[in-house]
């Protein structure tokens, strides 16, 4: 009974925690409320349930090991690795749910009623598929595994068949909880499905996939709540589940694609051939050209993309902005919702470089500003600035809301090479009259620009 009151308080704090997270001003309070709730829930569980001394040893050991692994990961991890860490934590969440499911089954079968077994099967399915799916996402983000979609014949049929086997064995177990073999089939099929789900996903679709896995990790915790008849688990899991759902819907909208398209289309595996016709040429410029163009500019909008994260150029960009600011140029940043590898990735990266968040503008707010901008500087972004999305019905990215950089008086694109972006589409922007291409590593180019400005000033 006492435990239930503690759980009630924890549930209320979790809800407040997310409410406070809505704004920067109250967000840290939100994080503290969440931490307090977790502490209460753990302490309440240990204090009011009959803990034996032997089990206490296991509990203390496991929590200590978790702290030894978790604390260094949180303290020393570079900010550019946030997407990987997030994927890894979804994997841990899924694995925990899956393991508890298996353990409960092994402990109590065949004395499990149908209702409990149904919830248990759901918990295992969600937990194990989240585990392997997130491990694979981690591998891709860490670039241990190739980031391109991995495509093989009949992949959609194989994936769906695997999912059907997992669901089928879950349903069978619910009817016949005593059949242990089917439990192992359920476990195996769920683990396999997680892998098959993420294999055909390319790097730029990661924001959506991470959000979906976030949702599954929450739902698996909720399913555990159904198994254990524990409402705190159900509530906390549901909050996480709905968060992942909303984020994945937002990511899909930002790409004008459906869930099914993200999961099954394998976009990015083929390079769309550039249109036939007269060979188009780009105008390559030097850093000096770019600097002279920027001289006297009133407003400059910087458009960061994943390339900025790869080049670790966020601090260099901040320096360039400071130099421009000194010369009387207003500098804004245009943030596309799917820029980077997870929702909000660019915001975190720029915040790390001390860029004030009032200068980070969302798509709807920044697009009206481009016609007034003297220059848009595109750093490591590609598909999100391709004007073809507005008018070329044959383009795979047609209909995707883009940043209208081409409407700026001039556009500077910093890029390593002419390789097409993730979607494999040639970018019209590069061939426009007002576009200047500067080839090179984003960080190096930006640093050279800063040095050049300083030389002029001296």
């Amino acid at each position: 009974m006492k435990t239930q009151f503690v759980y009630l308080a924890a549930a209320a704090l979790f809800i407040l925690s997310i409410k406070w997270m809505s704004q920067v001003r109250s967000s840290r309070r939100g994080n503290w409320a969440g931490s307090l709730a977790m502490l209460l829930a753990v302490a309440g569980t240990l204090a009011y349930t009959g803990v034996t001394t032997t089990s206490l040893g296991w509990v203390a050991g496991a929590i200590a090991l978790g702290a030894v692994i978790g604390i260094p990961m949180a303290v020393f991890m570079p900010m550019t690795a946030v997407p990987q860490r997030t994927a890894l934590s979804h994997a841990f969440g899924g694995l925990a749910a899956g393991l508890v499911g298996t353990a409960e089954y092994l402990q109590y079968a065949p004395h499990i009623n149908h209702f409990a077994m149904g919830a248990l099967a759901t918990e295992m399915l969600l937990g194990y598929l989240t585990f392997t799916g997130s491990m694979l996402a981690f591998g891709k983000l860490q670039e241990i595994i190739p980031t391109q979609p991995i495509i093989y014949p009949l992949r959609n049929i194989i994936s769906i068949a695997t999912l059907l086997v997992a669901i089928g064995s879950g349903v069978f177990l619910t009817m016949h909880p005593e059949n242990a073999t089917v439990m192992w089939v359920l476990m195996g099929a769920s683990l396999l499905f997680g892998i098959l789900l993420v294999l055909p996903i390319g790097g730029a679709d990661m924001p959506t996939v991470i959000a979906i896995l976030n949702s599954y990790a929450g739902l698996s915790a909720s399913a555990m709540g159904f198994v254990m008849n524990n409402k705190l688990l159900i509530i906390a899991g549901a909050l996480d589940g709905s968060s992942g759902l909303i984020l994945s819907i937002l990511m899909c909208k930002a790409m004008n694609r459906s869930f099914a398209n993200v999961l099954f289309a394998g976009v990015g595996q083929t390079i769309v051939k550039a249109q036939t016709g007269p060979a188009k040429s780009v105008k390559a410029y030097t850093v000096e050209d770019a600097v002279s163009m920027l001289d006297g500019a009133r407003m400059v909008i910087i458009v960061p993309g994943y390339g900025l994260a790869v080049a670790q150029a966020q601090h260099a960009v901040k320096e360039l902005a400071a130099v421009l600011h000194q010369r009387g140029t207003e500098v804004k940043y245009a943030i596309h919702p799917v820029a980077g590898r997870m929702p909000g990735h660019m915001n975190v990266l720029l915040a790390e470089a001390d860029v004030p968040y009032d200068d980070l503008l969302e798509l709807e707010h920044v697009n009206p500003l481009f016609p007034e901008a003297d220059m848009a500087i595109v750093l490591g972004a590609n598909d999100v600035v391709n004007p073809a999305a507005r008018h070329d019905k044959s383009s795979p990215i047609y209909g995707m809301p883009i940043l209208d950089v081409d409407k700026a008086r001039s556009v500077m694109v910093v890029k390593r090479s002419m390789n097409p972006g993730f979607a494999g589409v040639d970018n019209e922007l590069f061939y426009l009259d007002n576009t200047m291409m500067v080839f090179g590593d984003a960080k190096k180019v930006v640093m050279e620009m800063v040095a050049d400005f300083k030389r002029i000033a001296a």
Binding site: T49, G66, F115, I235
Partner: protein, 102 residues
Amino acid sequence: MHEISSADIIENLFVFVLASFLGLELIRGVSRLLHTPLMSLTNAISSIAIVGSLLLVTAHGMDRTTTLLGAAAICCSAINAIGGFMITERILKMFKRKGGAA
């Protein structure tokens, strides 16, 4: 095993559905600026699954296998809980307004 009745399932479904709708409303209100820390916060919150594994390990008469699997689950959730709130704090600390105020 906790005996679960159909009444329990219905009651829990009510809780689940209401919490989900509440979650959807709350999350919709979160600024896009904070989507990364939001994800790390909700992930830390979902490590509440640690309560489930604690209940499993501390119950009487558990097999060695159950204890081992449960302890592994506690460890996974502890990594997420401790690391998750800490990393969220680290990310949030970086967000500054013009002039340096948070």
